[in-house]
Symmetry: C2
Subunit: 298 residues, 2 copies
């Protein structure tokens, strides 16, 4: 498959995911902004707001190309003069604090000197960690991984623990998931194998998240849970703006700001030095925002 | 004056500023957390919340010292093995969207090889830009600058325009102010001169901000102005977490997170691709968030 087939497939994935989310939400629909990149290529930003279940979220597709910016050459350690990048990127902030936030990204990158790779990941950020659901979520991801390579889950799960980490809070963003980058062909794994895996990750998103939406949307909550949700959203903002490599890179290299920052929540709160009550469910969640928890065995 | 006299004076400044703000607010008082830095030194974090005028803010003093982290040596281009840093840092988020957000910082840095310098600044972030008030604010800062050096305002005002800038939004954070760093003695300006100027900047804060509090607190506003305030606070979060060198440096080098992030607002909102109505006061404010406006002549 070539870069055009990959980017078309990603475009179709965006369509399928938007349909599935709209159907499960039952009220809101995605609004699309098509945009062009001055240096080459463009994208389709799709945003959903004020749904039954989804308060604010985006499912973005883009395929951009052109002269490789010096900053990218440096970061990649690759001096290919032209680059091509395509992918789908998603963040969903639900209305209810009982429904988790989710993020998914699948992407392909190619340089004019022939070097190419895949990257991506899915991670889940429950406002309140439900151990059984975290386990179920990891089981789904492990099944996707295992169908493609015996080592994938064991490599990509800890990679997510390291990546989705707020060093300044000593907290993970949520219960993790999988993360991978620079997946090149090897002697035993072809480009086709890598692509089949990335496609499977993309296709896994909608069934996983619509299940979690349906399972949790009817749970009751009050002001206490909403307050906690807004503080957890504050942590989500901190991760995305301080630590997320993709966000930083986009903002520093003149990416499309509104597409990059669609990942931010509709509202976030900060309280000075908030400490949850001992024994509370908020404290229990904080205790579970740790690296290297084996959720499959949880 | 030596580093101990400087840090004691800063401590007194913190006291005077907290008293002035409490008196003008009329309801809330500062709560203090004293903290120790494992490697040497410590600080007094003072936070005010839910006042009549001030919704959330901090006035922090610290004096830290110890082995110079490699990251600091690199950033400073100075290989002094020990460092000493002291200063006062302030951000105030008012309840009312009609009262501006303000930031002030004064600081002193010294390396064991004898190199030392002052830094600091004040900048104002009105939710709605009032041209007459922005002019008055800059007149106050210019008067402080002019009393110490004929070139200071002309140097430090554009420096603030460059520093308090959201490149990804093509917006300044507010109406600017003054910013300066690495102020070392020169052939014609002594360390004593620099110090007298930094003291004057510190002492200027309370009269300037209490005046702006009193002038604006009684202005009426409704939900529209509160919504806009929350979006402007979102921009404040973006600046602090993405661009502010001090914040980034603190978070990446294990500073005290709660002190560093006291600058964040109690609440911030994000809407996808928000566009103010043509001819609205929100649009007028956006038009004034530009670099190189001569507020003195405004």
């Amino acid at each position: 498959m070539d870069k055009h087939e990959i980017s078309s497939w990603f475009q179709g994935l965006q369509d399928r995911i938007c349909s599935a989310l709209e159907q499960t939400d039952g009220r809101a629909s995605f609004r699309e902004d098509a945009w062009d990149r001055p240096g080459g290529g463009g994208g389709r930003a799709r945003v959903i707001q004020n749904g039954n279940i989804l308060e604010k979220g985006g499912v973005n597709w883009s395929a951009v190309h052109g002269q490789t910016p010096e900053a990218i050459k440096k970061q990649l350690g690759n001096d290919g003069d032209e680059f091509f990048a395509t992918g789908v990127s998603i963040v969903m902030h639900p209305q209810s604090p009982m429904v988790p936030i989710i993020h998914m990204n699948v992407r392909y990158f190619e340089m004019s000197n022939g070097v190419h790779w895949f990257g991506g990941g899915i991670d889940l950020t429950p406002h309140y960690v439900d151990v059984a659901q975290a386990k179920w979520f990891h089981q789904q991801l492990k099944a996707v991984c295992d169908a493609h390579h015996a080592d994938y889950y064991d490599e990509f799960k800890p990679w997510a623990d390291r990546y989705f980490y707020l060093k300044h809070r000593k907290e993970t963003r949520g219960v993790g998931g999988i993360f991978f980058d620079r997946l090149r062909p090897t002697e035993t794994v072809t480009k086709e194998d890598r692509w089949a895996f990335v496609q499977a990750v993309g296709e896994a998103f909608a069934p996983i998240y619509t299940h979690l939406m349906q399972q949790n949307e009817a749970l009751s909550y009050g002001e206490r849970e909403r307050d906690w949700q807004r503080m957890r959203r504050g942590r989500y903002v901190e991760f995305n703006l301080v630590w997320d490599a993709g966000t930083k890179f986009g903002l520093e290299t003149d990416g499309r700001t509104e597409s990059i920052l669609m990942s931010l929540p509709p509202q976030a709160n900060w309280a000075y030095n908030f400490q949850p009550e001992p024994g509370s469910k908020e404290e229990a969640t904080l205790h579970r925002l740790k690296q290297d928890i084996d959720w499959i065995l949880a």
